[in-house]
């Protein structure tokens, strides 16, 4: 089986950290998903929110500072009194709790960020609009997940270390991952069946998270794939597990980002 991206599967979880005495910051549901994706290694080899060199390298070269390919910045934006060296507890409404050790605080140019990632500065683009609403400073540093948040569809949620063991148990070596924010259509079916002619199995990853208006509902995507796997594909060669992240709508950069995940 191929090595994890960057050569190391990150796992930054410690349920025994005592959170008393640390300042707390409430984070959005989107950011909580980023925190959990970092902690569980979905974003390997990232171990935290990006510091300046990684952020700028990703914008300019689509690589981390250490030359590993990476196309979408994973950043923590804030306004307020944070300073380098601080340790804070991040909390979300759904119950995610993490420790964030701030290594670097830096400013950024929102228009340049949008232009590099989305090739436009037009605020009608959902990704650009999100950047324009971000707070003015970024903080980089490692995170450690203390408690996972409550989310829907947890029976479809496998973490990277679990999927690697699943593939090993199934005897899969070559696996094709198919990530989607849509219900399957004939084009998808054709691609998936073609993949099954040369791979040992197909790993279907519906994206569960914030999407733009008009996209399919998560429940509908899951039910449709459930039916496809149950009644159409050979069950031993198709597996579905959700990917909890928001869509960025960043075209080719996002396509590579999905490959990395």
């Amino acid at each position: 089986m191929p090595a994890p991206h960057g050569g190391k599967l990150v796992y930054r979880v410690d349920k025994n950290i005592n959170t008393e005495g640390f300042p707390e910051i409430m984070i959005s549901g989107d950011m909580a998903k980023d925190v959990e994706n970092i902690a569980y290694g979905v974003f390997s080899p990232l171990e935290g929110f990006m510091c300046r060199n990684d952020f700028e390298n990703v914008l300019e070269h689509m690589r981390l500072e250490n030359d590993i390919p990476w196309t979408i910045p994973i950043v923590f934006d804030f306004e307020g009194e944070l300073k380098e060296g601080d340790e804070v507890i991040l909390k979300s409404e759904n119950g995610t709790i993490a420790l964030f050790k701030i290594e670097e605080i830096y400013g950024y140019d929102k228009k340049e960020y949008a232009q590099q990632v989305f090739r436009t500065r037009d605020a009608a683009h959902p990704g650009v609009a999100k950047i324009m609403k971000m707070r003015k400073n970024l903080a980089g540093g490692k995170i450690t997940l203390i408690k996972e948040g409550e989310e829907k569809f947890s029976n479809y949620y496998l973490k990277p270390h679990e999927t690697r063991i699943l593939f090993k148990e199934k005897g899969w070596r070559d696996v094709v991952a198919f990530q989607t924010r849509n219900v399957p259509h004939m084009g998808h079916e054709y691609v998936q069946k073609t993949a099954l002619t040369f791979a040992d199995g197909i790993f279907i990853n519906p994206i569960i998270g914030r999407k733009k208006k008009g996209d399919f509902k998560d429940e509908v995507i899951l039910k449709s794939y459930e039916a496809l796997i149950e009644h159409y594909y050979l069950k031993e060669r198709a597996v579905m597990s959700i990917l909890r992240t928001m869509m960025r709508y960043a075209g080719p950069r996002e396509a590579i980002f999905h490959v990395i995940m």
């Binding site: 090595a3 960057g6 050569g7 190391k8 300019e60 030359d67 496998l158 270390h161 679990e162």
Partner: protein, 76 residues
């Protein structure tokens, strides 16, 4: 954004034998590689990516994960 000076600091020079450079020059004709440097960088990145090692899980961790996979119906 980085200045031009900072940008230059992200690259370094490596010497390779001239005959090899000539071979590479011929090989990249008509390809998407626009310089010997970009081709050599590509080849070296491929080579480095294949030598990095994966961490392994303990037997105990692996058993716990298999139990969860069975409970969710992913494994028989």
């Amino acid at each position: 954004m980085p200045t031009e000076k900072e940008e230059k600091g992200k690259y370094t020079t490596v010497s390779i034998p001239t005959p090899l450079a000539e071979k590479i020059k011929k090989r990249i004709e008509g390809t998407g590689f626009n310089s010997i440097s970009s081709y050599v960088t590509y080849v070296l990145r491929e080579l480095m990516a294949n030598t990095e090692e994966e961490e392994v899980f303990s037997k105990e961790d692996e058993e716990k994960i298999k139990e969860r996979l069975r409970a969710l119906g992913y494994l028989d």
